[in-house]
Symmetry: C2
Subunit: 308 residues, 2 copies
């Protein structure tokens, strides 16, 4: 694109939560839109976003919000994609690119594809970024900087549309990767969905104990548990929809996790210290590679504040 | 104690790793010892500690290091307590307080108690603090600030010795809690040991997949997985010993965790979104309480660096 010319005359973001509001802020930072329209069905949420001044126009009606937009980004829970698709379809501009930020890709494509006019270009996407917080105020412009954004274009995708959407995410700070939707769902099942599930699960287990009080669990959480509570504080609606919409891959990875955990349990019961030591040594190496790849900070304890 | 008078004429710390070296630094910061002796059986480690200048004398012989010390803190893996006990016993000063920093308390008492002279006061302890890093250079003086230190004195403990050890940990910045050893082991099983085990386990599961490459796991780890790799980078020897020495409590808590996970798995399989949503809402509340209790930072994503 030419310097000074925004990538799109008008962009619409639907959903003003953590991700939608971060996309909005990053669009502005990158000057990617002549006009940025932000929509949310929840009046309180869109008012909050308006108060933050993170877009040029604010809407509760999606069909009104999408009118004239060359790009529409759906930043709503995966389970809400279909109803948004139905609502916005009549208002879509000729040749508009429709994308999303959902954590599951095969089901999003399946839900939206039959609802959209033939002239629209549906290219699902997933920026692998986020925090445990929710709502318009939790967003920030640099959320996608240096993070991966995975696009899962269907077969026969329009090459120009894919190129433009790629440029859009690069303009937001991301590095774009193209992947098959099915493979995306399998990769994310292990790197994101199952980790969230077991974090939710252990926090639930801990809060149900009779012999250990809840205040003890909270007091002594610095031993490791508190890391899990951060993940288990993530948006309940978003995550419910992820599990319901990526059932097969999650169940497959969960089966493997449980099988491996049973083997570890057996090693503990029978005092097989070598088996434990070998695993614990192997996993340390994975952490090193994540830090080397720039996917996390090398600072101890996530750089939590410590003097000295 | 009077201002200007150190709590002990001489303190010995055995083990110069993350925790031992942090205790050493905090002892100096608090001016708690007239002389601070630091010992480690590993010559390289003790040389590194000496290079850092974090104590007054440096030893590879524990019997030499403990001579004349009113307080001896064992900062070695739980499985090494007995051999350190045997080695140091002949050198212990009359009425010395012997404590430790191990993550398991019943087995540490059982291992040390028969080895120590009758005049020594054995009071096991556990500062609930740490990072995933290891070695003398990883330690820092503020590690225990505002963190809990749990002491598990045996029945009939000498009241003066307990009071002095309590003042010692307060001098290191901690808040001291007294607990029965068995109960400590149960509480820590859920707040620390099982969280570590499942973190090690999922990192192991992820690194063994055929359909998802290891480089994909690393690239997309920002979705949640990377938090687990931090915990799974913790010291392998220390953690092997924790699981072998807190077998009953870990197996009990692991059984509950697996039972709950099976129920979640069933909810996913049968599309029971309400069950998922209810749990995910409940767990968010636990996070809020941990932040309110000052046990973690309220900043999103553990305050990982983000501009904006």
């Amino acid at each position: 694109m030419m310097a000074g010319t925004p990538l799109f005359d008008r962009i619409t973001i639907i959903g003003a939560g953590l991700i939608g509001s971060s996309v909005a802020r990053a669009v502005r930072r990158g000057k990617l839109a002549g006009h940025l329209a932000l929509a949310d069905a929840n009046e309180e949420v869109i008012k909050e976003a308006e108060g933050l001044g993170i877009a040029d126009s604010f809407h509760t009606s999606v069909v009104e919000a999408v009118a004239g937009s060359g790009l529409v980004i759906l930043a709503v829970p995966v389970g809400a994609m279909a109803s948004v698709g139905v609502a916005m379809a009549p208002g879509l501009a000729e040749g508009a690119i429709i994308s999303d930020v959902g954590s599951v890709k095969e089901s999003v494509f399946g839900a939206l594809e039959p609802l959209l006019p033939a002239h629209a270009h549906l290219i699902p996407g997933h920026p692998v970024a986020g925090t445990e917080q929710s709502g318009p105020a939790a967003g920030f412009a640099s959320l996608f900087d240096g993070r991966w954004c995975i696009l899962t274009p269907p077969e026969g995708v329009d090459a120009d549309a894919l190129e433009t959407l790629t440029a859009f995410w690069q303009g937001l700070g991301s590095t774009v990767e193209i992947m098959e939707a099915r493979h995306h769902d399998l990769v994310l099942a292990i790197t994101s969905h199952v980790p969230h599930l077991i974090a939710y699960n252990i926090v639930g287990t801990a809060s149900d104990l009779e012999e250990v009080t809840r205040s003890e669990v909270i007091k002594y959480s610095a031993g490791g548990f508190r890391d899990f509570t951060r993940i288990a504080a993530s948006d309940p609606t978003m995550w419910r929809d992820v599990f319901l919409n990526n059932k097969d891959a999650v169940l497959e990875m969960l089966g493997r996790f449980s099988e491996d955990l049973t083997a570890l349990q057996r090693a503990i019961r029978w005092g097989d210290g070598d088996a434990l030591f070998d695993l614990f040594t192997r996993t340390r190496e994975i952490r090193r590679r994540i830090i080397d790849a720039g996917q996390d900070d090398a600072k101890a304890d996530f750089g939590r504040p410590h003097e000295d």
